[in-house]
C-alpha cells in the first residue's frame, strides 16, 4: 500500500478515536466529580481531570491499527504500546493515591523495561560529529532510563492549557521530517502514530481547556515519545528537539533540590494576578519554563504557550540542522 495513504489512515484513526473518546469521557468525568481546578484563570473553573485515559485508549487503538496494517513494524508497535501502558498505570496510580515526588519517578522507570527486554534495541545510534557509534553497554541502560526520564519531563511541562500537547506535537513533527529526509520508514510510521491522538487531545486541552490530561496522560505521552525515539532510531534528533524539556526538568530538579510534587514546593514558581501569570519575584523560587518566559513581565496563558511552542520550534530547527550538517 502507498505510504502516504497508510500515514493518512494512521493519523485519522488516532485523531478520530481520541476525539470520539474524549467526547464520551468529558461529561462522564464531570458527572463522576473527577475535576481539577484551573488555577491560572481568575474564576478558577473546575475542569474534567484524567482525560489522559481517552488519550491512552486512542494510542492503543492507533497502535493496534499500525501493527495490523504495517507488519514490518508490528513488534516495534507492540513494545511501544507496552511501554506506554506501564507509564499509564503509574500515572493512573499517582492520580488516584498520590505516589509522591520520589516514588513516581522511580516507578515510571519501569516503562523502559519492555524496550530493554524486547531484543529490538540497536546499540549503534547515529550521533552528531561521530556518525554511527557503538554503545554496547551504555545504550541498553539509556533505553531503560529514557522513557521514565521523559515521562517525568513531560509531566513537568503539563502546567498550562494545551502546552504539553502542542509542545509534543512540535517535537513529533520535526522527528517526522527528519525520518522522511533519512528514509527511516519505521520512524515515519511511529511518529505519525502518536501525532493523531495528540492532535485529537489538543482540541480539547487548548485554551480554554475542557479537559486536563492528568498524570495518566502526561506520563504516557513522555514514555511514548522516548520509546518512539529509541525504536525509530531518532535518539540524537529527539535529544536536541526536546532541549526545552531537558532545561525544565534539570532546572526544576536542581532549583527545588530533588524530585518534589507541585504541592511539596514551599515557594511557587509563578504568581497569578487575574489573567496574568508572572514569575515569583522571590529569588529562591524554583525556575521553570513558564517562570523563565515571564521573568520581566507578566503574560496571559495563551501567549506563554505560544512562546513555549516557539522555543520547541527553534529546538526542532536545531535538530534538523544538526541532522543535515553535523551527522
Amino acid at each position: 500500500m502507498n505510504l502516504t495513504i497508510i500515514l493518512a489512515a494512521i493519523l485519522m484513526v488516532g485523531y478520530l478515536s481520541t476525539e470520539l473518546l474524549l467526547r464520551l469521557f468529558i461529561p462522564r468525568l464531570k458527572s463522576a466529580g473527577i475535576l481539577g481546578e484551573d488555577i491560572h484563570k481568575p474564576d478558577k473553573p473546575k475542569i474534567a481531570e484524567r482525560g489522559g485515559y481517552a488519550l491512552v485508549l486512542g494510542i492503543i487503538i492507533t497502535q493496534i491499527v499500525v501493527s495490523v496494517a504495517v507488519r514490518q513494524i508490528q513488534k516495534y508497535s507492540l513494545i511501544l504500546l507496552c511501554s506506554t501502558l506501564i507509564a499509564a498505570i503509574v500515572g493512573s496510580l499517582d492520580d488516584m493515591i498520590d505516589l509522591g515526588g520520589k516514588l513516581k519517578p522511580l516507578l515510571s522507570l519501569l516503562s523502559g523495561l519492555p524496550l530493554l527486554t524486547s531484543g529490538l534495541l540497536y546499540p549503534r545510534p547515529v550521533l552528531p560529529l561521530i556518525g554511527r557509534a557503538r554503545l554496547h553497554y551504555a545504550y541498553p541502560i539509556a533505553a531503560l532510563l529514557l522513557p521514565g526520564v521523559f515521562s517525568n519531563a513531560i509531566n513537568m511541562i503539563d502546567v498550562l492549557n494545551g502546552m504539553m500537547a502542542s509542545n509534543s506535537i512540535i517535537i513529533l513533527l520535526f522527528l517526522s521530517i527528519i525520518s522522511i529526509l533519512s528514509g527511516n520508514y519505521g520512524g515515519i510510521i511511529l511518529t505519525t502514530s502518536l501525532l493523531g491522538p495528540l492532535i485529537g487531545f489538543y482540541r480539547f486541552n487548548k485554551y480554554p481547556a475542557k479537559v486536563f490530561s492528568g498524570n495518566v496522560g502526561s506520563l504516557s505521552i513522555g514514555s511514548c515519545l522516548a520509546s518512539i525515539a529509541i525504536l525509530g532510531r531518532l535518539e540524537a534528533s529527539f535529544a536536541i528537539a526536546s532541549v526545552p524539556l531537558l532545561i525544565t526538568g534539570f532546572m526544576i530538579i536542581t532549583s527545588v533540590g530533588g524530585f518534589k510534587e507541585k504541592k511539596e514546593m514551599k515557594i511557587r514558581p509563578v504568581e497569578v494576578h487575574g489573567n496574568i501569570i508572572k514569575a515569583n519575584p522571590d529569588p529562591r523560587a524554583p525556575i521553570t519554563l513558564v517562570s523563565l518566559l515571564t521573568l520581566d513581565k507578566g503574560k496571559e496563558e495563551p501567549r506563554i504557550v505560544l512562546e513555549s511552542n516557539l522555543l520547541f520550534i527553534i529546538s526542532g530547527i536545531l535538530a534538523l540542522l544538526t541532522y543535515l550538517f553535523l551527522t
Binding site: A133, I240, A279, L310
Partner: protein, 78 residues
C-alpha cells in the same frame, strides 16, 4: 525587549551545544569498552567514561549557576 524569552533562547542554544558535545564525549569515551577485549583497554575506557560524565556534570552545574544568576539579576532589575 522580552528578557525572559531572550534568556530562554540563550539557554536553548547553550543546551544544544552541551547535548552535542555531551553525546560526542560519552560516545568517544565508550568506544573502547567491549570492543578491544583487553583488561587495560576496558579500565582505560571506564576511566574515560567517568571523566566524560564528570566533565559534563561540571558543565551542567556551571550552566545552572549561570542561569540562576541571570534569573535573579533580571528579577531584581524588573
Amino acid at each position: 525587549m522580552d528578557k525572559g524569552l531572550l534568556l530562554s533562547l540563550f539557554l536553548i542554544l547553550i543546551a544544544w551545544i552541551l547535548v552535542i558535545s555531551g553525546l560526542y564525549l560519552i560516545a568517544e569515551a565508550l568506544v573502547p569498552i567491549g570492543t578491544q577485549g583487553k583488561l587495560s583497554a576496558e579500565i582505560a575506557g571506564t576511566l574515560k567514561v567517568i571523566g566524560a560524565f564528570l566533565l559534563l556534570g561540571s558543565l551542567l552545574y556551571i550552566w545552572f549557576l549561570l542561569t540562576k544568576y541571570l534569573v535573579v539579576r533580571i528579577k531584581t532589575k524588573s
